[in-house]
């Protein structure tokens, strides 16, 4: 299994460990080893190596905000900028806790796409009006408030899509 550019090489055992961790990252080395037919020391060594190589970036918790009574709205914000300011505006957006994800895109013009979360529409507008619109180089902003989420998932090492087979 080879990865291009500055990526690292993973074998089938690594991939099986990653897949098992994506299903449940709280499993012990022993439990992982038993389920994969490996010694726990092998599992430990492999995981440690993949952590050092930043293949495993983080272990985190997926929280269902609605279950804990957090009422929020999420919006996809598209920011059109002067080309020379795009990178700087994107970096400023990335620093804001309200911004969950930031991407730059080159379509007909240079765009920044950000996923923004806020308590309500007023808070969302205030954030965009006070923290995004004033940034130098911002030309226009389009905002789409998400009304229904049909899917949300992380990249899976065992993605079924043929195009993503490693």
């Amino acid at each position: 299994m080879k990865f291009k550019n500055n990526s690292v090489s993973l074998d089938d055992v690594d991939l099986k460990i990653l897949q098992a961790l994506q299903e449940d990252s709280r499993q012990t080395f022993t439990a992982l080893g038993e389920s994969l037919g490996l010694a726990h020391s092998t599992v430990y060594d492999r995981i440690r190596r993949m952590e050092e190589q930043k293949v495993i970036k983080n272990y985190t918790a997926l929280i269902d905000a609605e279950r804990v009574g957090l009422k929020t709205i999420t919006a996809l914000v598209t920011v059109c900028t002067e080309p020379k300011e795009t990178e700087r505006v994107a970096e400023r957006l990335a620093e804001s806790p309200e911004v969950l994800e930031v991407y730059t895109s080159l379509s007909e013009e240079l765009l920044i796409i950000a996923k923004v979360v806020a308590a309500d529409q007023d808070s969302l507008h205030d954030f965009i009006a006070n923290s995004i619109a004033p940034l130098r180089g911002v030309l226009r902003i389009r905002t789409s408030i998400i009304t229904k989420k049909l899917k949300e998932s992380l990249f899976s090492i065992n993605n079924g899509s043929k195009g993503l087979r490693l």
Binding site: L124, P134, L139
Partner: protein
């Protein structure tokens, strides 16, 4: 005193305190105003939806009061809210109120300095 209020109304405010014109929540037109003069010009040519959006939210009045610190103009704009104006009627009335105030303050400023 007159010169003080006049200078507040005709001065330029920092970029982060400018008025940014939106047509709806989060949709920025790309137009902004850093002074009463610029605000007056923008009122004449910004998308009418933007004027309706901000007037209904009380954004104009708030900016004029808090940033330009012109309570008289803020009161006049608030009064416009009560008429539920839309479209060109709103643009014309808002333009009239703002330009009248600007001319008055600019005139006071120049006479105070002369």
């Amino acid at each position: 005193m007159i010169a003080g209020s006049a200078s507040k109304a005709v001065r330029n405010v920092p970029r982060e305190k400018a008025f940014y014109f939106f047509t709806s929540v989060g949709n920025y037109t790309g137009m902004s105003a850093v002074s009463l003069k610029e605000f007056m010009d923008r009122v004449s040519d910004v998308d009418i939806k933007s004027l309706e959006f901000h007037l209904q939210r009380g954004d104009f009045q708030k900016w004029v009061e808090e940033i330009l610190q012109d309570n008289d103009l803020a009161w006049e704009i608030k009064r416009l809210q009560r008429f539920n104006l839309t479209g060109n009627a709103l643009r014309n009335q808002l333009s009239l109120v703002v330009s009248r105030r600007y001319k008055r303050l600019a005139g006071q400023g120049s006479s105070a300095h002369s």
